[in-house]
């Protein structure tokens, strides 16, 4: 699977150079690398470990500790359902259920097979005044209902269809 992705080590080198191979900057390095590849491929993490002079275990340990890092590629649209307290008491769970059903995703399966959608929950996005909140990539959608969620999904699907037709 991994061989299908041409691994561009030159970008990693740039990031490492920028941070002067300082092991204290590991988190920033991983963030920038993930920005580039959309996830953290295993051989890149090993490469970073060698360059920083620390064990691959330490890099892997940090990568798995923080929820922002992902070791698997994500879909084109990352849908985050906020499950912070304010959203929770305003029934964010129902919205999650609707999305799970619509996208055929649940539990461990977070990304659709066509790599279009990834569904996640987050603890709090800090937009509690608009609860319940759904975020698609970086776009915030507030005061969501089941109906509005389906509408939103249909809009994305439509957009995707148009892009494919072009």
């Amino acid at each position: 699977m991994r061989n299908d992705f041409p691994v561009k080590f030159d970008r990693v080198c740039e990031v490492l150079d920028k941070h002067k191979c300082d092991p204290n900057k590991l988190i920033a390095i991983l963030q920038e690398v993930q920005e580039e590849y959309k996830y953290l491929p295993e051989d890149i993490m090993t490469y970073i470990a060698t360059a920083l002079g620390i064990s691959p275990g330490s890099v892997f340990g940090v990568a798995t500790f923080y929820s922002h890092f992902t070791l698997e590629p994500k879909g084109k649209y990352v849908i985050k359902v906020c499950d912070g307290t304010a959203c929770h008491v305003r029934k964010s769970e129902e919205i999650l259920k609707v999305l799970e059903k619509e996208l055929g995703l649940s539990g461990r399966k977070k990304t659709s097979d066509d790599m279009i959608f990834t569904l996640e929950t987050v603890a709090c996005l800090g937009a509690c005044g608009l609860a319940p909140v759904v975020v698609v990539n970086d776009e915030v959608h507030g005061s969501m209902t089941k109906e509005k969620t389906i509408e939103l999904l249909n809009r994305i699907r439509e957009q995707e269809k148009q892009e494919n037709n072009k």
Binding site: Y66, G84, A123, C124
Partner: protein, 643 residues
């Protein structure tokens, strides 16, 4: 290098303020568009663009940044209006918000289609557009002066004053409103001991949750001799339901930097970090811009304000770990390690970041510091209660009419916060029911619940601790009567279980088992021993954990057990959820009076659990019922109830 220092421009604050005042006087109106997260999501930016468009169409001129060039008398700046993007104004429920100065008119829930009317009637003809003004829910009266809106009138916004007022893209607006004057004073006129004493005298306590006196923390760091010391601003606001730090970092990033400069002068630090959680990309970018601007103006970097002192700040983005809000974990995270807390002592004041003395303060604490220096400790002390001085921001959310960000003095009661500022509790159908809440959860996953009996309790650090809750970071989540408290406890347990870093066994395994016990209760598997076990385990986790996360993780469970024990008992012994929220415990029954005996429910029932015949009310056989809810949704006469 030396050359650049010598030629570096150092901003003249007084002159900047004067120029700004002169320049701003030439505008007829200042149009402030709230660009906080809430209003942005509701389309604030398209309103902003529409304003520019419409004003141009009318042949008038609008500036988006104050024109501060010194003009000759005859060609003085010829813009009519100033259009400003501000940070969060707090009244998120009513967004998008548009405020007009000097008229002090607040228009709520503005749509792009309203812009033309605002320009034509208010900006040009000085009339009010009544339907966009805030309407008092009781009197149906339209409030023309924004300060008279109950949401704002009852608050005491001193730290948040500029947030939501000044242009987030223009540092000069912050300076024109008194910004950086206190930083300059701390650099040029005050000694380290003087600053520490002033802050200690003000009674300021950590706003992040712990409530440790800030002045003492600074003094402890000050007395530790070291060539390098650090100041860290903790912006890892992970507590679900809290967003005040976010608003300050986005709406007034310079106040955070100013607080950090003053802290650095107090402890003689040379380097600072702002640790911001990655979920706040806007805060990260605004802070970075603010730091760049401050450096360009000689406020950060070497020889700040032309003195021989140096201080610089770097933004560090978190990577999604709640435990990093704990100071020792946060330090580990900045060092590029897994964010796991370590044993105290040594405290960060002795051995913190990279082994050097470090001060860590929360965003709100630091943003309050310049305000205190400006007001003077004596004045600041007058606000608040005996043990908790000053004001506190709260994020008011949940089942309340006016959600948003508020700032009130310590000692304010829930009756005032929920009833007056919040505008009352709303039930599931959106009806307002006064202060009839079931519980107010305060302090997030580390806090506890307040109930009707605490309606008149003056909220401060010590009173809250005494009733088993805590100020925490200040999330106030209002819950109406239809909320299942066991599920709320489970919700927080799930959160802390997820976020436990795994270092301490009792926290890692204890939270998992507590969650399993709560699942048993919710799903009807609990027995007589469950509650005792849950309580015992909760106390073990509390005692046996190293950091704040584990020590406070059982609080929501203990607090709900204390105030809503009858609800737990109903779940455990009667296998019944009083609010009808727990699916596994739901029972459905037919209200005989309402049943029209149409038979629809019986036909929909997949297991034939409903019996009856024409003319005779139908009955649900509890033994056969699988609690699918099909009958409940099918009934057209609301004759079937669950609970």
């Amino acid at each position: 290098m030396t050359g650049s220092i010598l030629t570096k421009q150092i901003i003249d604050l007084d002159k900047t303020r004067e120029i700004y005042k002169d320049a701003s006087a030439s505008y007829k109106s200042r149009i402030v568009i709230c660009a906080g997260t809430g209003c942005m999501a509701n389309g604030a930016m398209s309103i902003y663009n529409k304003f520019r468009e419409v004003i141009y169409e009318r042949g008038l001129k609008v500036a988006v940044m104050l024109d501060k060039e010194e003009h000759k008398e005859d060609d003085r700046c010829d813009n009519d209006f100033l259009l400003v993007e501000s940070g969060c104004q707090g009244f998120c429920q009513m967004g998008p918000l548009v405020t007009l100065y000097p008229q002090k008119i607040l228009y709520t829930k503005v749509k792009t289609s309203d812009v033309e009317e605002i320009v034509d009637r208010t900006l040009i003809k000085n009339e009010y557009v009544d339907r966009l003004l805030y309407e008092c829910p009781d009197s149906k009266h339209h409030v023309r002066d924004m300060d008279k809106i109950p949401f704002y009138e009852r608050q005491n916004r001193i730290m948040l004053k500029l947030c939501g007022h000044i242009n987030v893209h223009d540092a000069d607006e912050y300076i024109a409103n008194g910004g950086y004057f206190m930083a300059r004073k701390s650099v040029l006129e005050m000694t380290d001991t003087q600053i520490c004493k002033e802050i200690l005298d003000s009674g300021l306590r950590g706003r992040g949750g712990g409530g440790f006196p800030t002045g003492r923390k600074w003094d402890l760091t000050r007395i530790n001799e070291s060539d390098v010391k650090y100041v860290i601003c903790n912006g890892d606001e992970g507590d679900p339901g809290a967003f005040m730090d976010r608003c300050v970092m986005e709406g007034n990033p310079h106040s955070v930097l100013e607080g950090m400069i003053i802290a650095a002068m107090a402890v003689n630090a040379t380097k600072g970090y702002v640790y911001v959680r990655t979920e706040y990309p806007l805060a990260v970018s605004r802070l970075k811009t603010a730091i760049r601007t401050a450096r360009e103006n000689g406020i950060l970097g070497e020889h700040i304000f032309g003195s021989d002192r140096s201080f610089d700040i770097e933004v560090m983005e978190g990577a999604g770990a709640f435990v990093c809000g704990e100071e020792t974990a946060l330090i580990a995270s900045i060092e590029g390690k897994r964010g796991m807390p370590s044993i105290k002592p040594p405290f960060p004041a002795e051995k913190g970041l990279f082994g050097k003395p470090t001060v860590i303060n929360n965003v709100e604490t630091l943003a309050t510091v310049p305000v205190i220096l400006e007001m003077g400790a004596e004045e600041y002390r007058k606000l608040g209660t005996e043990t908790s001085k000053g004001t506190k921001t709260f994020a008011l959310t949940g089942h309340v009419a006016n959600t948003g960000l508020i700032e009130v003095p310590f000692g304010t009661t829930l009756r005032e916060i929920v009833g007056e500022i919040g505008g009352g509790v709303i039930d599931d159908d959106g009806n307002n029911c006064g202060v009839d809440f079931k519980a107010v959860q305060i302090g997030g996953p580390s806090g506890g619940c307040l109930t009707q009996e605490h309606l008149d309790l003056p909220l401060d650090y010590d009173n809250l601790r005494d009733v088993g809750a805590m100020v925490g970071s200040g999330g106030l989540v209002v819950m109406n009567q239809n909320t299942c408290m066991v599920q709320i406890a489970r919700f927080f347990m799930q959160f802390t279980q997820n976020e436990s870093c795994g270092k301490c066994v009792v926290c890692r395994e204890g939270t998992r088992q507590m969650l399993a016990l709560l699942d048993d209760i919710i799903e009807g598997r609990a027995d007589a021993a469950t509650l005792d076990l849950l309580e015992e385990l909760a106390n073990t986790v509390k005692i046996g954990s190293l950091c704040g996360l584990g020590k406070t993780a059982p609080n929501p469970v203990l607090s709900t057990l204390k105030y809503f024990r009858d609800e737990y008992i109903a779940h455990v012994y009667n296998k019944r959820c009083p609010t009808g929220n727990c699916d596994a415990l739901k029972t459905y029954r037919v209200i005989v009076e309402k049943c029209k005996a149409c038979g629809l429910c019986a036909r929909k029932c997949p297991v034939d659990a409903i019996e009856g015949s024409k003319g005779v009310p139908y009955v649900i056989n509890i033994e056969k019922c699988i609690r699918c809810g099909a009958c409940y949704t099918a009934c057209k006469f609301d004759a079937i109830v669950k609970g």
